[in-house]
Amino acid sequence: MVIVPRNPEFTTTAPGTSERVGNRTATPVRLCGSLAACRIARVGLNAAAGRRWRGLPEQLRDQMAEAMADSYSQDSEPTTRTLLRRVLDTADTRTPQRRRSARIGAQKSLLETPSSRRLSISTKTNARQRSQRARSIGRLAHVQISGHLEEQTPRTLLKNILLTAPESSIMMPESVVKPVLTPQVVQSSRQESSQSSLELQLPELEPPTTLALGPVAPGRRKRRLRLSVFQQGIDQGLPLSQEPHGNASASSLTSSLNLTFATPLQPQSVKRPGLARRPPTHRAVDVGAFLQDLRDTSLALASPGNSLRTPVATLPTDTVLEDTQPFSQPLVGHSPSVHHSLPHLFYTEAKDAEKAVGHRTQSTGPRLQNHSPGKPAQLLATKAKNFTMSFTNTIRAISGKDEVEPLQGGVSEEAEESMEVNLSVSKVKDTTGTQGSVRTEKSERHTEMTEAVEAKEPEGSSDEDISGRTASPELVSSTTEFLQARQLPFLESAPPPNTAILSSEQLEPLPTRLPPRARTLGPRPHQDPHKTGLNHYVKLFSFYARMPMEKAALEMVEKCLDKYFQHLCDDLEVFSTHAGRKTVRPEDLELLMRRQGLVNDQVSLHVLVERHLPLEYRQLLIPCAFSGNSVFPAQ
């Protein structure tokens, strides 16, 4: 065949290695700015696998046609020649890198050849001739880096194009090429072969990486794909010998590879389930146990020193807890009310938390929250008795608030549930008995609100009793679920430090009273913020101690802090009155610290301030001179 250079201006470099040119296996496709070439190469790869040369030309033609059409969208005749011409026109005529010089030459030669070989594409012999020419071209390429191709084959031309193609277009063409490749099936065999040979390298390198990347995260996959592509581009010249072998596999792989190339572009969010937000799982079982714990704690709280604190607090919490009993069925309906009531419960219980009982409850509370439903149930069962008894006492001491009753009912109900879960019939009976007694007591006491409250109580109690008793296993599961569900809202709603305290206190089982809980949130109990503040110092204590501590010890620390605050206020009052003031000034504080022995002649207050307080507080306390003859804070 006579090689007629299509584009005189086209200077191609002979392919580096003859074997590369001869091989039809695709080399890594690197189309220089011309997506068409890539597409063609891809299609060629796909089509070239196991195909005879006869079929290739058509495929290549189609590929080239489409590629050219895409690139130019001008020629009506999608012939190999026109396509290649387009490719060549658009292809960069820059000299390829040394390692790619061979390929570029081959590509260019290939591109140039189709024009001359258009007619003979369909023949098998042409293919052979092309390969031969490609080889010759390859040899020539070695000699001529930049010059006319003696033989122009579609393969060589395309190879040149691919070699000279910018590296950046590797990824893009792949994705873009893929949609184009599929429609392009019929192309010139040479083009296909060349393209496939050029592109096979990419798929060759890609499949092992992409296939291996299957299990890898998509992010890594993308990175590795890019790397593989890059590597392919680098190694274009190397695995040309592998092209023929890889042809069959590569062609099949290319399609898959093309697909894989496309896949990385897909939203990685789908492939990264870890990034997706997971809805909080709510298990009814946990909730139930949690509520049971709450009852236990509430009961425990109610038992001690109710006389000292407002006993009303326990009642509302109890009722709240009790309402949460029937999780098995009316979980949804009760949940909102429970939410309202539980914070109530927390607050009230916080108030009633007697240290003697709180000691127990707090220890059990946090544990209960963390333990499985079984454990809290057991703990609750053990304390149910005490709680019920204490609750009865507290109920008598109740001053009478409408909130109390519902809480009591709730707590008693919860206590009931816990009891049932433990399958302690005796306790359940006791609780029920106490509940009844409590209810009666409540009704006797409160005149105005009792009616409304107790109207709820029997309803709630009856429902809870029935549901609780009949579906103990259900309750367990439902309660646990509810516990979980409640834990989340509790944690969200209640202040973080409060939850720990309140939960521990709530776990104290309240008496078996199950009066209807008041859905409205009452006034916040005194304990809640107070406990929060105290907890702050308790944490500091545990930090300073640097040793593991018991919960009982922490509660002891709380008591000590309370006493300390009382002493502190008394002393400050004495000092300020001694100075004839009604306002406590920092001087009083300094005097106090001096008397405590913290401040002496060696250690001044400022030293202590600098030592223990953060900078912002230091600036407020220690007068410092600033520019402009000003002192802050002003003395």
Binding site: P529, H530, T532, G533, H536, Y537, K539, L540, F541, S542, F543, Y544, A545, R546, M547, P548, M549, E550, A552, A553, M556, V557, K559, C560, L561, K563, Y564, F565, Q566, H567, L568, C569, D570, D571, L572, E573, S576, K582, T583, V584, R585, P586, D588, L589, E590, L592, M593, Q596, G597, L598, V609, H612, L613, P614, L615, E616, Y617, L620, L621, P633
Partner: protein, 88 residues
């Protein structure tokens, strides 16, 4: 104001002073008295030192009892001493 600082300990200790809490406590105890703005910071400092001393004393008690965990008894004994000291 100062935010929580990460300490070497596993816990995150907040260096912030619960000024509202302190003011509330003082108001509850002595409603007829007033506390100055900087006063509560010094009160916070006083609390820190008290808690520090209490913790040290408790640690000593636990260590003397050859116990790896601070127990309630240790804290109680320490509280007795420290409260007496900080009576002023």
């Amino acid at each position: 104001m100062a935010l929580s600082t990460t300490v070497s300990q596993r816990k995150m200790i907040k260096r912030k002073a619960p000024r509202g809490f302190l003011k509330r406590v003082f108001k509850r105890q002595k409603p007829h008295l007033r506390l100055e703005t900087s006063g509560d910071l010094l009160v916070h400092l006083n609390c820190l030192l008290f808690v520090h001393r209490l913790a040290e004393e408790s640690r000593m008690n636990a260590y003397e009892a050859k116990c790896g965990v601070i127990k309630k008894e240790h804290v109680q004994a320490a509280a007795k001493v420290i409260l007496k000291k900080s009576r002023g």
